[in-house]
Symmetry: C2
Subunit: 403 residues, 2 copies
């Protein structure tokens, strides 16, 4: 579905969107750190934000814009989270929106704001102002790559994707940029994801779709169990495709929904795979529970276990740590009914370690992508969580002062 | 309260207890790995066990003994957890009790069993049998040190303590050995703790005390958030002090309770401080919540955050990660009412980073023992959790195959 050719186009792949990414001098590294995404045609907007009780200033401001339902731009910076910055921080976030609004020529309350980086430090407003001016001047249909690079922090690469689908006989495009890395956990910690589309849909209906989809995509990943103050997923739909408006319950809605879900799941997987210091990408499928929530709880218990994560880092087929994490998840389970497989190879069944070929299992453990299947035998529900291992590098990245 | 002089006496400090620790060849290292604790005079017994749905065979057997209320011995091994070993494992755990019973001359159902080490491997019964015979032959009042060393795994040292208090005008003694290290988390994961006393108390009353005390001691520590299949706390009271029986609600009960609590909290702290790869011992005090449970939830959220743990490893006074962990704990909080202190130095207040002297804070972060205070300003309840940092060494220990 996602062609490499279109991936670079990212958020500017849908009609009517421009983007830019510039060096505002906020990151200590001097790399790109200020992104601007713009649509001249007004877009309907939907958003999902952190559930952390300590919400950063840009989250507070963007929530207000989402409530209004329409937007023309997203302005975001990396290097400073503008979190735990009190009244000054909130004023700075509002000023950030106003500065971008002035540059692109729209109302301040139609500009969404994002920040990621260290907590407790005020935005350098002079640098930010100059950066916003520079970004506005550089807005173009080729600007998505720079915008994507401007929002990353400890990510090893910028996540982007785009695709074109037919909705109601009309070609409709979607594009996205995202950053993740450390502090990733359900509720999308320090995760920024900006999705654009030229579909024609109301903000209310899009919000309904997005809220549901986040539950089976961004809320199903875990890098370290932490949840940030800043995480945000936004979708802007400007209708520039010329397609008819998508209505609830229509086949067009189903198509829109399926496409948005695929984008969100694809980005979720990439974010988990690029977790700080990650050397393994883990897909954890839990099935046979009574409810989706039960399956998710068990999968998250495995995904968050430092003992499981370090075992996979060490390529140790330590199913004992996995069954242990299943056991303490607090969900009804019977050890004798539970089956665990690594890469399709059964490693635990009937309450015991399964007999397996050592070569088979070591081949599985040596892979970068490893699937862990847990069959509980208690019902028909299931869930999938994406995660990564825990390495020396994770400790190094997070055990040192960094921006 | 705990004198260094008595610490070595451990579980044999109370009258009438003998112990031994021998090399049975179960640990690959060849170190001491089989412990036996014995009281000729029948002891009342109380126990608290893992809540993991996957309970190891020795836990199943010991639960039955605790139900019976009386015991003469504890036999425990390290190097093999006898967990996820099915019917064979259960038969082996029962045989382990029977072998010890035959050696010391008591009924099989008066012998408690413990195992710690790798999961999914059967006990080497021949080695175990020889080890139990050797341990029985070596039982002595000087055997606690060897017994303590025989139950440790990745611990860097054996935890032991003992003390004498006056209860009802009579000298009463307590002693203990414990092992912890990795997989430590509420519900006492891969934690074994054996406490002896010559107090005179019924198993029912002692069970009531122990169940309450575990909630504010062993269930308040976290090394890595994992909970094992084998964790066990046992108390044996043989009445050999000659003191009158302790009755519920009496001043004697209060004294017994306070002493047992102090022992359990002391061992909990030492276990947290000796977490795998730990370089820092963290005491996390959360106050000003509506309930103890709320305070515990917030403290555990901080204690379990890999980002907080790696920050302390790096001696980085990163209060942002702490307030973030407070925020996602899911407990009512108002950022502006919350105050965070590291080593008594306020680092966060009024929704903002507090002004602090850089030298002061770096002195705090350089210490081995660091106190994190979080005042929530929402009520009068409080809780304390003990934890440690996350180091390269943790990843190394758990990312390699090991016994």
């Amino acid at each position: 579905m996602f062609s490499e050719k279109n991936a670079a186009a990212g958020v500017t792949f849908p009609k009517g969107f421009k983007a830019a990414g510039v060096k505002a001098g906020i990151k200590k590294s001097g790399n790109l750190d200020l992104a601007l995404i713009y649509t001249e045609k007004e877009a309907a907007v939907a958003g999902v934000f952190t559930k952390n009780a300590v919400a950063a200033a840009p989250v507070i401001v963007s929530r207000e814009v989402v409530k209004g339902g329409k937007a023309h731009a997203i302005v975001a910076n990396a290097g400073c989270a503008n979190a735990c910055t009190g009244e000054t921080g909130l004023a700075n976030a509002r000023k950030m929106a106003a500065l971008a609004a002035a540059e692109v020529g729209c109302a301040s309350d139609e500009v969404l704001v994002g920040s990621t980086g260290i907590i407790g430090v005020n935005l350098p407003m002079d640098k930010l102002e100059a950066g916003i001016k520079a970004a506005a001047a550089e807005l173009s249909e080729d600007g998505s790559k720079n915008a994507g690079n401007a929002i990353i922090t400890t990510d090893t690469y910028s996540k982007a994707c785009s695709c074109e689908v037919e909705i109601g006989g009309q070609a409709v495009r979607f594009g996205a940029i995202a950053k993740g890395s450390g502090m990733i956990q359900p509720n999308m910690a320090t995760m920024l994801c900006y999705i654009t589309t030229d579909a024609n849909i109301s903000s209310q209906l899009m919000q309904k779709a997005l809220s549901e989809i986040v539950e089976v995509s961004f809320n199903m990943i875990s890098v370290d169990g932490d949840m940030s103050t800043n995480d945000t997923v936004l979708v802007l739909a400007n209708g520039a495709s010329g397609a008819a408006e998508i209505t609830d319950g229509s086949p067009e809605y189903d198509k829109f929904y399926a496409t948005l879900k695929e984008i969100c799941q694809e980005l979720s997987k990439r974010i988990a795979a690029d977790g700080e210091g990650a050397t393994k990408f883990l897909t954890i499928n839990v099935s046979g529970t009574k409810t989706f929530e039960d399956a998710k709880t068990v999968a998250m218990s495995i995904a968050k276990s430092p003992l499981v994560k370090t075992a996979f880092f060490g390529e140790d087929p330590n199913w004992g740590r996995v069954i242990c994490a299943v056991g303490y998840a607090g969900i009804p389970m019977v050890p004798e009914k539970t089956v665990i497989k690594f890469g399709g190879v059964p490693v635990y069944a009937n309450g015991l370690g399964a007999e397996f070929n050592e070569d088979d299992i070591h081949k599985v453990m040596a892979e970068h992508d490893i699937v862990i299947d847990v069959e509980m035998g208690m019902g028909d529900a299931k869930a999938t969580v994406w995660s990564c291992d825990f390495s020396y590098e994770y400790v190094k990245i997070n055990g040192e002062y960094h921006t």
